[in-house]
């Protein structure tokens, strides 16, 4: 029963991958309680300080639209780390089986192990491309899984090649398909059972949709709402936001990836969290946000271009405005010369003020982003992982019973 080196390496890599996937799944499942949680982000799975600020690559990956599937059907969707965990647990099982049942010489067993270990390799490549190309951040836990997957595939290949040199075992080369199909069914069973347990136990969040209040005065008498699209939809979605707010950028990107864009007409209501124009904050949470908000209001048809630019350069604008409050205006004027004469003018400053007064009239909390569909508020807890689930229901008018009663 003395294991060969590749078997040991395979089992160790499978244990590591299982741990990485387990921590990643744990971080996701924690959020099912609709609260904020710190996230593990370390090359040593489960150890290291929790990221409670949302600044880590793991947080960006977890909150991205690619961290789960079926988000419209289930609050948060099914985390892709969960089937990953099941696959790694299955590969661990196959590795241990190879070792403990002394099947390292079996060509059938080793070729299946190699074929099965290619699945996480292909998935790792796909997720790596998404992380770098679309999310723009690399998650340490994910990197741990990628590396473990490659080590498993490499050692499985090593085992298979070694088994081809060894004398054939009974059954090798005969009836190859049947044992491989049975093994594949075992693997699929691991994934299905794990997902089934999750789907059966996941909390039902539909009772919260539409129960977080509504706008008292949704009209726009000041003409300060900024259209974000030209959709002819009769349903209007108001996003109370700030062009320098990272959470608003995150929401905007999730929304654009959600496929819900055609169902509503999006408009923005600016509420810059910057004490240069906002008396409701004692200091600048997002330095420079007042000047950039003025530029959005000055830009007219080009407002979305200003938003896109601001989202893209949020960190550098905030940093520059922290050093010198006038810098944000200079930066936006340089990027959009057409608004240069308007930014800072009494008329646009008054308009920003009217945006803030709209928030006062509706007694909104001073936080961002806030989203309203036809005047009904999307709960703050539903603006990230639960966005697709809750927003699709709000748009369809499928709101919880308490809300309907309240509205009578």
């Amino acid at each position: 029963m003395k294991p060969r080196i590749p078997t040991i390496l395979f089992v160790l890599a499978a244990v590591a991958a299982t741990l990485f996937a387990a921590v990643s799944t744990y971080d996701f499942v924690q959020h099912l309680d609709r609260q904020l949680h710190g996230i593990h982000c370390s090359f040593v799975p489960g150890l290291g300080a929790l990221d409670a600020t949302g600044s880590s690559g793991c947080h960006a990956a977890l909150m991205s639209p690619w961290s789960s599937v079926l988000r419209k059907a289930i609050w948060g969707g099914i985390p892709i780390a969960l089937p990953g965990l099941a696959v790694y647990a299955f590969l661990l099982f196959r590795g241990l089986d190879l070792w403990l049942n002394r099947r390292e010489g079996s060509r059938n067993a080793t070729v299946f192990l190699f074929m099965a270990s290619l699945l996480p390799v292909v998935t790792s490549i796909a997720m790596g491309v998404i992380a770098v190309g679309l999310i723009g951040e690399v998650c340490k836990l994910c990197v741990g899984m990628y590396v473990s997957s490659f080590v498993m595939a490499g050692t499985a290949l090593w085992l298979w090649l070694a088994s081809r040199k060894a004398p054939a075992e009974a059954g090798d080369g005969e009836g190859v398909v049947k044992p491989h199909v049975l093994s594949a069914i075992e693997g699929v069973g691991f994934v299905l059972l794990s997902v089934l347990v999750y789907v059966m136990l996941v909390p039902d969040a539909s009772g919260y949709v539409g129960t977080c209040g509504s706008l008292k005065k949704p009209q726009d008498p000041y003409g300060v709402m900024v259209p974000l699209d030209a959709n002819p939809s009769e349903k209007t979605m108001i996003e109370v936001m700030d062009p320098l707010c990272p959470a608003c950028r995150g929401f905007s990107r999730r929304f654009e990836a959600s496929g819900l864009g055609e169902a509503v007409h999006r408009v923005a209501l600016l509420m810059p969290l910057d004490d240069t124009c906002n008396w409701m904050v004692s200091s600048a949470v997002h330095p420079g946000a007042c000047a950039v908000s003025e530029a959005v209001l000055c830009a007219g048809d080009q407002a979305t271009a200003v938003f896109d630019w601001a989202f893209e350069h949020q960190e550098e604008i905030r940093e520059a405005a922290t050093q010198d409050p006038a810098k944000a205006a200079e930066m936006v004027k340089a990027a959009f010369p057409a608004v240069a004469s308007c930014v800072g003018s009494p008329a646009v400053r008054s308009k920003v003020n009217k945006s803030l007064r709209w928030a006062v009239a509706n007694q909104l909390p001073v936080l961002q982003p806030q989203v309203f569909v036809e005047g009904v508020r999307l709960c703050d807890e539903d603006t990230d992982l639960g966005m697709d689930f809750a927003l699709s229901r709000l748009i369809e008018g499928r709101i919880a019973a308490e809300k309907k009663e309240e509205g009578k």
Partner: protein
């Protein structure tokens, strides 16, 4: 033996994802039940209410807004000197003292002798002051006249000055709330004349022209950051 080990390992490894995800999910469900109904401590958007909003200032403001037609009719009607005196129920000096904390918030729009026409410097200061609303709910325009001429003439002159300010704001700022926010008092020469102390406040007049007469050919404008 092989089959038993195989099955045992399979069950053990299958338990890893299923048991873990089951336990974590149930735990999240329990927390969601416990935490539902917990209140939020996030601040709610509200108009400003600064420390200078003393009881006396609030009283005057409330009376001006109610008696001069703002809150009841939703339109600017304004208060003439006699109204203002009865509304304020205090001496002119005490009335002016209420506004002393607003040195950084107010502006004095200075007119030429016997004139109610806004010049470019007046307009620049007025636009600057009005655009700087911040969280304030009320914009007060307190127009005055210097003592030259008859009381009646100066009442009319100060009224015209206040009206000129209001007309300019209506033209310049398309603001549906303007008539509900702007409180207008014209005091003529009879009540609460400004003294030289106000020379250091933001003014539209030339720096060297700041006698009491020049100061009172004016409209004192300010946002008031008080809730009433």
């Amino acid at each position: 033996m092989n089959a038993v080990v195989h099955a045992g390992l399979g069950v053990a490894c299958l338990l890893v994802p299923t048991a873990l995800v089951g336990a974590w999910t149930v735990s999240a469900s329990n927390r969601i039940a416990e935490e539902s109904g917990a209140g939020s401590d996030v601040a709610v958007a509200a108009a400003a209410d600064e420390g200078y909003c003393t009881a006396d200032l609030r009283k005057v403001l409330r009376r001006v807004l109610q008696s001069c037609g703002l809150q009841s009719s939703g339109e600017v009607r304004g208060c003439k000197p006699n109204d203002a005196k009865s509304v304020a129920t205090m001496s002119g000096e005490d009335f002016n003292a209420l506004f002393r904390p607003l040195a950084d918030r107010a502006g004095i729009i200075q007119f030429d002798l016997d004139s109610s026409v806004l010049d470019p410097a007046d307009i620049a200061l007025l636009d600057k002051q009005f655009a700087d609303q911040r969280g304030a709910s009320w914009f007060l325009v307190v127009a005055r006249a210097s003592p030259e001429g008859s009381e009646l003439h100066n009442q009319k002159l100060s009224q015209a000055r206040g009206q000129a300010v209001l007309d300019h704001l209506r033209r310049t700022f398309t603001d549906p709330d303007l008539d509900k926010e702007v409180g207008l008092l014209w005091l003529g020469e009879e009540f609460a004349q400004l003294d030289a102390e106000f020379c250091t406040w933001p003014r539209s007049g030339a720096a060297e022209e700041c006698s009491s007469k020049e100061l009172n050919r004016s409209a004192f404008v300010t946002w008031i950051d008080c809730r009433i």
